[in-house]
């Protein structure tokens, strides 16, 4: 039992991201409303961002990756130690991923607006009904 608790406690960050991801995936597949699907998509992306960020953490008092007293001309007299700062790379990567997810969200919302314009609804089954009414069932 204690092993299990160790396992769980030691890796709770991964549990959290997996849970978020499942929520996002569920929303994308199960929800009929396109806006909710888009929200699910965003949750899904956020879960992955959480995963990356959590890998950057370092125990033992590591600080944010900004070198203290780093002002002035930068030669290596400051001598930063890797263990003192958390891993900057995942943060960099996720800055990019956040921007990408925002951009995707923007385009997705744009298309949702267009769909709403066209069919007057964002419910998938109602849209399907309208399409059937318009085209007489042909694809």
């Amino acid at each position: 039992m204690s092993e299990f608790i160790d396992f769980f406690v030691g890796k709770y960050n991964y549990w959290a991201f997996i849970l978020l991801m499942m929520i996002g995936l569920y929303a994308m597949i199960a929800k009929k409303n396109l806006a909710k699907k888009i929200i699910g998509m965003n949750i899904f992306q956020t879960a992955i961002i959480l995963f990356y960020i959590s890998t950057a953490a370092k125990g033992g008092g590591a600080s944010i990756p900004i070198i203290a007293h780093g002002h002035g001309h930068g030669l290596s007299e400051h001598g930063a130690r890797a263990a003192d700062y958390i891993n900057p790379l995942p943060h960099v990567l996720m800055l990019t991923a956040i921007v990408v997810s925002v951009a995707t969200l923007g385009v997705a919302l744009t298309l949702a607006v267009k769909v709403y314009h066209q069919y007057g609804t964002l419910e998938e089954d109602e849209i399907a009904d309208r399409i059937r009414a318009q085209t007489g069932g042909e694809p």
Partner: protein, 277 residues
């Protein structure tokens, strides 16, 4: 459908959980991620790029190429919104009546489609959802906006030393314009920062970034190798990197700000740039 969704989500989750057993623990300082590539950034970034904020150094220099395309993603998203949504001219499905407000008296005229439009400067065209009295909101935002913008500039400029940089600063700047648009109205915001300005600024921001990289090429260095710009700045190679980072951060800030504003314009008014939020 719900069952299928639940099943696939659970399946996906279980498979992923199964993998976590071999993961390094949370915060493990000896994990491969913490010990292979990243130590060099922490230990050398200051010496190599003269930027104490390691995230900025990695973002804009070591992995500056990623960031260039990150900016391009923002630009393409804004362009995509414009491409998909923008409706030019009058919306044919709703031939709109036009509303004009006589400024001195506050009287609103409704001009039916095809009617004569008053062309005196005393008349201002307004939207149907125009709300006359929102003095508190308008005044407060007018007071706040300059400070927001100042802070945005600070965040861009201070990205070397503190959390911040082009993206963050750009978003803050963009937010200030969006706040203006929300508190006043879309028409006025467009008057301050028109669509063409947003579009060209957005492209120009990315162009500054990519152009800086291309300039390095012209100077004989690799793409985005700012040390090649040293002769232009008149400083040594490491300082040149630091300055190069600043230049691209400015470009990013410009692009992100304009992109935010531009996306807002199109989304808020469904591409008609009138009757919007």
């Amino acid at each position: 459908m719900k069952l299928v969704a639940l099943a696939s989500a659970l399946l996906c989750g279980t498979i992923l959980l199964f993998g976590t057993a071999e993961f390094p623990d949370f915060g493990d300082p000896d994990s491969p991620a913490a010990s292979h590539v990243s130590p060099r950034y922490i230990e050398e970034a200051m010496a190599e790029t003269s930027a104490p904020n390691i995230v900025t150094a990695v973002l804009a220099d070591y992995r500056g190429f990623d960031t260039l395309f990150e900016t391009a993603v923002v630009f393409s998203a804004a362009m995509a919104c414009f491409f998909l949504l923008r409706i030019f001219g009058e919306d044919e499905r709703r031939p709109s009546e036009k509303l004009y407000r006589h400024l001195p008296t506050g009287i609103t005229l409704r001009i039916d489609p095809g009617g004569k439009v008053p062309d005196s400067p005393e008349f201002e065209r307004i939207d149907g959802i125009w709300i006359p009295h929102d003095v508190i909101v308008k005044t407060t935002t007018r007071l706040i906006i300059p400070f927001i913008q100042l802070f945005g500039l600070y965040v861009i400029a201070h990205g070397h030393h503190s959390p911040g940089g082009g993206f963050q600063g750009g978003v803050i700047l963009g937010a200030s314009v969006i706040l203006y648009a929300i508190s006043q109205n879309l028409r006025q915001a467009l008057g301050r920062m028109g669509e063409a300005v947003s579009a060209v600024f957005c492209a120009a921001g990315v162009f500054i970034y990519a152009g800086a990289g291309a300039l390095c090429l012209l100077m004989g260095a690799n793409f985005l190798d700012y040390s090649g710009l040293a002769p232009l700045f008149g400083v040594d190679a490491i300082q040149a990197r630091s300055l190069g980072i600043l230049v691209v951060e400015i470009g990013v800030g410009l692009a992100v700000m304009s992109a935010m504003v531009w996306i807002y314009y199109n989304l808020a008014s469904m591409g008609r740039h009138q009757e919007g939020l």
